[in-house]
Amino acid sequence: MKEEIIIAGFGGQGVLSMGKILACSGIMQDQEVTWMPSYGPEMRGGTANVTVILSDDRISSPIVNAYDTAIILNQQSMDKFEQTVKPGGTLIYDPNGITKHPTRKDISIYKIAAAEEAVKMKNAKVFNMIVLGGFLKIKPIVKMENVIAGLKKSLPERYHHLIPMNEEAIEQGMKIVEKIS
């Protein structure tokens, strides 16, 4: 198994921490992982993206420009990354704020209304976990128990009481993700 993923959106959406939780979950099941952020003079409201690779074998390059899965959370990222999905790959996006929807015919496209769902759940902070749930429904590359173990690893202990809430958000994401084409 090898999965090369780009997660891209606005700073403050939890893009980097979602990638970190995914990478942590991979370690929990003895996978090799890399997490490579775009870093720069960026801030809340600017763009943020991270490349996460999970693999059964040693990972050579942490830098790739074609992805198995793109998780896209704003229009700028759609413009930048739709074309980088490998043929036969997967694109997951939140339609919130998207004006130009993806048009590629050679990839599987899924929609997840995570921003809307987070509002319904009255907790904007679980947005990224809803998205993660959607991804894991389509690509179950890490087991749920390892995601929870990964959450425990990546969160300081004082936040561990929030884990059930995150778990619920992941499960909700699994329910609401829908295939478009």
Partner: protein, 362 residues
């Protein structure tokens, strides 16, 4: 063996330093390496191991604090990124001239000047060929993974004290900012005063006893004949380092007709390019120098008879390529591929370079 953790390269540098019994860190923040000091401040090692962590007023102050710590036989290190390392250049040559052991981490960013905060490998010349003035060398280690950021901290101190020479860990914004799985080294206690006496008592400024001459940590010797003798001694030391400390790694080289030479993050990206090219039937291998000084000249020479062309791949305008050419001695062509200014090549771009500059070479 310890458990695996997910950490950034920069964070690992800080944790590895504490765990290998480092006595002090003196530094000044600069992107993309600020997490080194941030992590040290969060860890508060002064409350556990007694390690000193100090934000100096500048890079110049940091390197001179390092000089003081090193002169007293302590395990000390600093970290910075390219423009900050330039500010430290004077201190580095003084440390080399006074034969003081220390570790300096350079998380390289694009230049010249203030340049960019994005990753680059354009400080190869500065690290390997000097930076400061005079006939001196740093021992230069080039990590290609977060795990090696951990491993080279301890190795760096080991080499620094073995040869009484500054060691540079030449990393970059990719390795520093990236998170990977890492297994931390076992914890070592800091050296006691007795241990320092035993290890460095013959030169360190740790208090004069009546039975010996005063120890002076200096690089100044105005008597030319004596300065020449000292320079010969330094050169003999570098020769020993060249004979004993060369490290490198080879990937798919056994049947290779073409060879990529790349180090650090460049080697990671090149390895994927080699995998992709191999899948198309191109017999290409990857040679990764781990020590940049001493350079694995002989190991490259040993590969030359089986090769048609060599390609040096670097995130620079072509620096290490000069050492590859020196090793090859004109026997086969050596070409170059790189990106500059903080732009990063993709594995596919390197595959294209393999096809045009190696296989399709006219």
């Amino acid at each position: 063996m310890g458990e695996y953790k997910l950490m950034k390269g920069n964070e690992v540098i800080a944790i590895a330093a504490i765990r290998c019994g480092c006595d002090g860190y003196f530094g000044y923040p600069i992107t993309p390496q600020s997490e080194v000091m941030e992590t040290l401040m969060e860890e508060k090692p002064w409350e556990t191991t007694g390690m000193v962590v100090l934000q100096a007023e500048s890079e110049v102050a940091s390197i001179n604090m390092l000089y003081g710590g090193a002169a007293s036989g302590k395990k000390v290190f600093t970290s910075s990124s390219s423009p900050g390392i330039s500010l430290m250049a004077e201190g580095l040559t003084y440390l080399a001239g006074a034969e003081l052991p220390c570790v300096v981490v350079n998380v390289v960013r694009g230049g010249p000047g203030l340049g960019t905060i994005q990753p680059a490998q354009s400080d190869y010349f500065q690290a390997v060929k000097g930076g400061g003035h005079g006939d001196y060398y740093l021992i230069v280690l080039a990590p290609a993974s977060v795990q090696e950021m951990n491993d080279f901290m301890d190795l760096g101190f080991e080499l620094a004290f073995k040869y009484r020479n500054p060691v540079m860990i030449l990393s970059d914004g990719i390795i520093g900012q990236m998170m990977e799985k890492v297994q931390l080294s076992p914890e070592k206690p800091r050296w006691t005063e007795e241990e320092i006496q035993k290890i460095s008592g013959s030169w360190a400024t740790i208090g004069k006893t009546p039975d010996r001459q005063r120890h002076i940590a200096t690089s100044l010797d105005l008597d030319a004949a004596s300065q020449e003798r000292f320079n010969h001694k330094l050169q003999a030391k570098y020769k020993t380092i060249n004979e004993n400390e060369v490290r490198y790694e080879e990937f798919m080289c056994d049947d290779a007709e073409y060879l990529i030479v790349a180090y650090g993050s460049g080697a990671r990206i090149s390895q994927k390019a080699v995998e992709l090219a191999r899948a198309e039937g191109i017999k290409v291998g990857l040679f990764r120098p781990i020590t940049l000084f001493p350079y694995p000249t002989k190991a490259i020479q040993n590969r030359v008879p089986q090769l048609k062309v060599i390609l040096s791949v670097e995130l620079s305008a072509g620096q290490m390529v000069e050492d590859v050419r020196l090793a090859v001695e004109g026997k086969i062509p050596v070409d170059f591929f790189g990106r500059v200014g903080g732009m990063i090549f993709s594995p596919e771009e390197i595959v294209d370079a393999i096809k045009t500059k190696l296989v399709g070479r006219k």
